[in-house]
Amino acid sequence: MRKFIIRTSIFLLLATALMAVLDVCLTHKLRHYDRGRFLVWNEIFDNHIDADLLIMGSSRAWVHYSPEILDSVLHTHSYNLGVDGSCFNRQYTRYRIYRKHQPKPRIIIQNFECTTLDYTTGYEQYQYFPYFSDPDIQRWVIPYEEFTIADRIFPFYRYSNFGVEKLFANKLKVERGYLGHEKVWKVEPIDKDNLIHFTVDPRSLSLLKQFLSKSAEEGVQVIFVHSPIHISLTECQDDVDSMWHTWRQIADQYNIPILDYQYDSLSYDTTYFYNRMHLNKLGAEIFSRHLAEDLKKLLEE
C-alpha cells in the first residue's frame, strides 16, 4: 500500500506540474490572441487604448458604435467597451478593470435598454480565463461569475473543462472594441409569452450610482444613449415607460444628458437591422454618424 500511495502521489504531483505548464503556455497564447473575446481584454491589460471617449453597454453598444466614425467627426480617440450578453454589473466590471490599466476618459457614452439594470452572471466566462492571476479579476470577476472551486484551484482545469478547441472558435476581429455585423434581417416570430420586462436589480442600480458619482468626482462626462431598436421590438417589450422614467430620474439626479434614438428613422426599416435589437454594419455606421453629429452639438453647447 505504501508503495502504491507514494507512486500515485508522485504521479499526481507530476500531473499537477504538467497541468501548470500547460496552463502557463495556453495563457500566454491567449494573452496574445487577437481574435474573439480575448482581443479587447488583451488591449485593456496591455495598455494600448488610452481613449478619451468610451462607449459602455451590452451587445447593442458593441455592434452599434463605430469608434472610427465617431472619431472622424468628433476628433477624439474613442474605444468601444461593449460587453456581449451583459447588464450593468458586467459592463461596470469591465470599466473598472479598464481604469486600472488606462487613464480616465473625457466622455463616456452609456448605452442603455430595457435590460441594462438587470443583473447577469455566468455568460461566456471563458473570456476571463487567461487573466485569472490578475488581482482585479480575482476581486471583481471570479467571485461573481459562477466559476467552480475546481476552476479556481486546479491548474488548466478551467481550460480543459471548457474545451481548448472552443477557446479559439470565435475568430471575430473587432476594431477598437466595435464589431460591424454584416448580417441581414432574420427574426423569430414574436412570442407574446416571453416579453422582455424592464427589471431593476438593486445591485446593478447601486453600481450605476457608484459609477456616476465616481465619474462626477473625476470630471468625466457621462451621456446616456438609447440606440435604435427595430419598431417591432415594441411588441416584445413590457414596461417601457417605467424604463424611461427610471433612467430620466437617474439622469436628473446626476445631471446627465439623455440622447434618445429609440424610434430613430432607422427603426422602421429592416435593411439596417439583423434582429429586433441589433443594427447591422450598415445601420450601425449611419447611426454612429448621426450620433457623432448630435454629440458634437451637445459638447459645443
Partner: protein, 480 residues
Amino acid sequence: MLFNSIEFAIFLPIVFLLYWFVFNKKVKTQNLFILAVSYLFYGWWDWRFLLLIAFTSFCSWGSGMLIYQSNNPKRKKLINAANIIINLLILGLFKYYDFFAQTFADLFLNGKSDGILLNLILPVGISFYTFQALSYSIDIYRNKIQPTRDIVQFFAFVSFFPQLVAGPIERASNLLPQFERPRTFNYRDAAEGMRLILWGLFKKIVIADNCAEYVNAVFAAPDAHKGSTLILAAIFFSFQIYGDFSGYSDIAIGTAKLFGIRLMKNFNVPYFSRDIAEFWRRWHISLTTWFRDYLYIPLGGSHCSKAKVVRNTFVIFLVSGLWHGANWTFVVWGAFHAFLFLPLILLGRNRNHRDTVAANRVLPSLKECGQMLLTFTLATIGWVIFRAESITAAWDYLASIPQDRLLSFPWLPSKTHYLVLVMCIVFMLAEEWNHRLQGTPLQLARIKSRVVRFTIYLILLALIALLNSGSGNQFIYFQF
C-alpha cells in the same frame, strides 16, 4: 456522479483511503461502507430512486432466501416467477410504459396520448441493476449458487458503485463471493486499476466526446451534408459508442480493482472481429452472456432444430434491442443484427472464430483484414440505425449516402482538430491490437524504465486535458 467529473475525482480517493485505512478491520464494515458510498454515488443524481434500488435488491434477496428454504419445486418456481415479474414490471413501468402507450395511441387513438402517458423519469442504470439482481435469484432457483443471509452484502453486490449505472452486469457467482471474503490490498491490481482508469478516460474524453461533436452536428441535419460526410459521421459514431461504453467499463473495472474487487471483462477488442458472431462475443460481453444464459439457453439455445435456433436468435436480438431503449430504432437494430447472424447460423459458421485474430502473428492476413473491415462496416450500418431518432431518419440517412458527392472530401469544421482525433483513434486501435490477446491495453510492464512509463501516462493525461471537448457529455449507456 459521472466518472469524468471533478466530483468523482474527489470522491474516489476519499473513499479509497477510508476503505483501506478506516473500514478495513472487518469485511462486514467494509461492505457496509461500500453500500453507503454506493448509495451516495447514486443519490448524487437523484436520491429518490435509491428506494427503487433498495426495493429491487430486497425482492431478489428475499426471493433468493425463500427459494432456497423451500422444499416444494412448485413453490420455488412460483417465487422465482413472482420476483422476475415484479422486477420486470418495475423496469417496464419506468422504461417502456410510455413507449407502448404512445404506440397504442398512434395505432388506435390517432396519436392522441393525452391522459395515458405517465412521463416518468427513467432511473439511471435501471436495466443494469435489475438484470444483475434478477440473475441472483434465478441462479439460486437453478441451484447454481447458495443465497447469502447477509442483506448488507447483497445490497452492496447490487449497488457496487463502479458498475451500478452502466455495468458490467455482474453475476452473483463472480461478484458475491468477493464480498464474502476479506479483501487484501494488492499493488499489482491497484496499479492495473489506475492504468485502466486512465485508458478509460482517454477513450471517453478524447475519442468518444470528440467524435460526438461531429456526429451530433451531422445527425442533427443529415440532409445538409454530402455522402462522404455521412459516412465519416457513421464511422465516428462507431468509435464514439465504443470509446464511450468500453471507456466506462474500463473505468468501472479499474475502480473496482482499487477496492480489491475483480469485475468481468465487458469488451474484448470487438472491432477486430472477423464476423458478426465474433463481434457479439466481444461486444458488451456481460449483457450478451446474460441473455445467453437466462433467455437463449432456456429457449433451447442452439441444441434444437435450425428453425428454432433462428427463432431463438431473433428473440435474443429483438429483446436485446429493446433492452437498450424504448424506441423502435433499437428493435430494428436488433433485427438487423439477427439478419446478419442468419447466414452464419444456416451455414453453421457462427462458431468459426472463437480465437483471437492473428493470434500468433504481428499483423493480420489480407483475408482477415477484409473480414474485419466487412464486420466493422456492417456494425457501423447498425450503429446508424441505433443512433437515429426514428426508423425513417435512419433510412433517410443511409439512403442519402450514395446520392450526393460520395467521393468528395468530407466536411470538417477544423482540419487540424480532426486530424489529431483520427491519430488518437489510430493510436487506440494500435494499442488494443497490440494487447488483443491479454485484452487489457496500456500494459507497460516490459518497459523497464519507470521514467518512460510515467512519461507515457503523462502524455495520455495531457491529451485528455488538451482534447477534452468541454461538452461534459454523459455516457451513452446511462440512458439504458
